[in-house]
């Protein structure tokens, strides 16, 4: 018997019972599309975290002012509220920790930005000239501020894309003067757009100034405020040692005795990111396995229908055997039916799954991500399901006794 004839025969048999075929296939379609959608979702989240890590800059550490989450007694306090970091700390980290490459103090503020009759509320980050390099940011138009701007606390500002769009409505912001808290500031540059963060925050809704400007012109507090210190280590291996060295240095500088809680907190952002990535990997596996269960259920559905079909077609099998079909031909035909059913279901499932992934990504506002591996694996798995769950019914059909089968009513 020719291979092509087996396929044709199987297709013909499937075509005879279109509704039954479609419903059986539906189980596989749902299974495969669920696997693809779930894994794509998980991998999308993973990619998002990776993007975010890249967005934070490479090998970045952060020192938060104030007690850590587990700082004794009064429970957790929000880092940064307490004034504990000084410019001296920044200088000490820069000069005394060998694994540190760049350091910038960060002074945060909020401000109402006014240009002409437009106004816009934005987050202001005060930093030094190293900020761009540490965070891995780029300038789209104009320039970033310099060391001289920091020293003189000049009223210059570099704005994010969202701020630029809202205040300037398409006209060139560079060189324009905007007002914040009744003081004029000159826009010297616009940052390259970064889009949304994983939490849905607009990363372009920001303005950057020299930290001295934020401290003296915007906040004008008596003590120069430093919310946090952002540091980049010389390489990825150095982030761990850098964290320990900075912790020791600051404990010493802040005169914290052994066993006493720290009034600052050093975060290795790479570590945090890795942990987050690990979480998404586990989530992907979990979602994928749950979806795989539905594929399994679909497979059991196939087996069920194929068994019913073998019983229904007992007489037909008897006829086929009487006119000269070997048992193996009957087995191949039934196996081909279930494999075709599964592969067709798998194919539709891949299409539906990709559509679903794109739709979910769109609704969640995530970068759309379709996992080609998940699609390939789910498709192959569906074919394997066809063989696995189709084998027993096919074998049952092949082992029928032709005389008994011919007599079957």
């Amino acid at each position: 018997m020719r291979f092509l004839d087996i396929q044709k025969m199987a297709l013909h048999a499937l075509g005879k019972n279109k509704i039954q075929t479609a419903l059986t296939m539906l189980g596989i379609v749902i299974g495969v599309s669920a696997v693809i959608a779930m894994v794509s979702l998980g991998q999308g989240a993973q990619k998002l975290v990776q993007d975010q890590v890249a967005g934070m800059g490479t090998n970045v550490l952060q020192v938060q002012g104030g007690g850590g989450w587990n700082a004794g007694g009064g429970g957790a306090r929000q880092g940064g509220d307490q004034q504990s970091l000084t410019e001296g700390d920044v200088e000490a980290i820069r000069t005394e920790v060998p694994t540190v490459k760049l350091v910038t103090p960060i002074a945060q503020a909020q401000g109402q930005f006014i240009f002409g009759n437009q106004n816009w509320q934005a987050r202001v980050e005060g930093s030094n000239q190293s900020y761009l390099e540490i965070r891995g940011l780029k300038i789209d138009q104009g320039d970033f501020f310099t060391d001289a701007d920091v020293r003189t606390a000049s009223r210059v500002v570099v704005i994010g894309k969202t701020v630029a769009d809202n205040l300037f409505q398409g006209s060139d912001p560079v060189g324009q003067t905007i007002r914040i808290r009744n003081l004029p500031y000159r826009v010297i540059g616009v940052l390259t757009a970064k889009g949304q963060s994983a939490t849905g925050q607009d990363q372009d809704d920001v303005a950057i100034m020299p930290y001295t400007t934020v401290q003296k012109k915007m906040l004008s507090s008596p003590v120069p405020r430093i919310n946090r210190i952002t540091i980049s280590a010389i390489n990825s291996q150095a982030t761990g040692p850098a964290k320990d060295q900075i912790t020791n240095l600051l404990r010493e500088r802040h005169a914290i005795r052994q066993g006493q809680p720290e009034d600052f907190r050093v975060n290795n952002l790479t570590e945090v990111a890795e942990a987050a990535e690990q979480t998404t990997v586990i989530m992907t596996l979990l979602l994928g396995s749950i979806a795989a269960v539905s594929l399994l259920v679909g497979g059991i559905g196939i087996m069920n229908i194929m068994l019913v079909s073998v019983t229904e077609r007992t007489r037909e099998i008897g006829i086929r055997m009487a006119i000269g079909s070997r048992g193996s031909y009957i087995r191949m035909q039934f196996l081909a039916e279930s494999v075709i059913l599964c592969m067709l279901g798998g194919l539709i499932g891949v299409i539906v799954g990709i559509g679903l992934s794109l739709a979910i990504a769109r609704v969640m506002g995530w970068p759309s991500f379709v996992s080609p591996q998940a699609a390939t694996i789910a498709f192959l798995f569906s074919a394997a399901t066809g063989i696995f769950f189709g084998y027993y019914p096919a074998h049952k059909a092949a082992s029928l006794d032709p005389i008994e089968a011919l007599r079957y009513e």
């Binding site: 018997m1 008897g318 009487a322 006119i323 000269g324 079909s325 048992g327 011919l406």
Partner: protein, 254 residues
Amino acid sequence: MVEAHERARSAATPVILLKDVHKIYRTSEVEVHALQGVSLEVKQGEFVAVMGPSGSGKSTMMNIIGCLDRLSSGTYILDKIDVSTMSKNELADTRNTKIGFVFQAFNLIPRTTAIANVELPMIYAGVPPPERRARAEQALEALGLANKAGSFPNQLSGGQQQRVALARAIASNPAIILADEPTGALDTKTADEIMRIFSQLNADRGITIVLVTHEADIALHAKRLVRFRDGLIQEDRAIVPQDDVLSLLHPLEV
């Protein structure tokens, strides 16, 4: 045509040769001795009617001749090949190439066109599509069904369905046609029509036919009568022109 000539020349050699065939069915407790030493020789081109009451062993013998069942002891030689010791696959291949089946219930594959039904045995034999299509068309045409090739079994009358089944049986040029009450589900007129086709195939093509029937008027179309009783052949004789329905029905009183 070449094949018909060949068969005509070898008319003397038996196409079916059963020697002391026993068949014993064993269920958990009971042992049924369905065939108790049957010997039968059917020559090329014969037309044999097999009669006998239910349970007389005629169906068991037909299953063995049809390679659907294996004998318990004895020898069965089909077209010069000993099939007594064949494997399941060899039996399937033998059914495919040597035997054409015609059943009482027609047994066409449902929801499958007439021509596809006729082609089916040739598909299992691995005949390439153009050749098997041509042969199926020829077979249908020979049975006057050229215009029904694309019809489904449920669109055909009983007589037409049985003719499709006959076309399926002859399309692969079998050595014998085995017919199990082929007219049992048909009205008298159609039954007569089908029997004339059998006679024609036997006369024109020299195809050997073994036909099981309960009805004497059907058996009258054959040239030889084999009667079964209690697992043995009770009567084996030629059907002569003088025979009528009564002489076949009451053999003991003749």
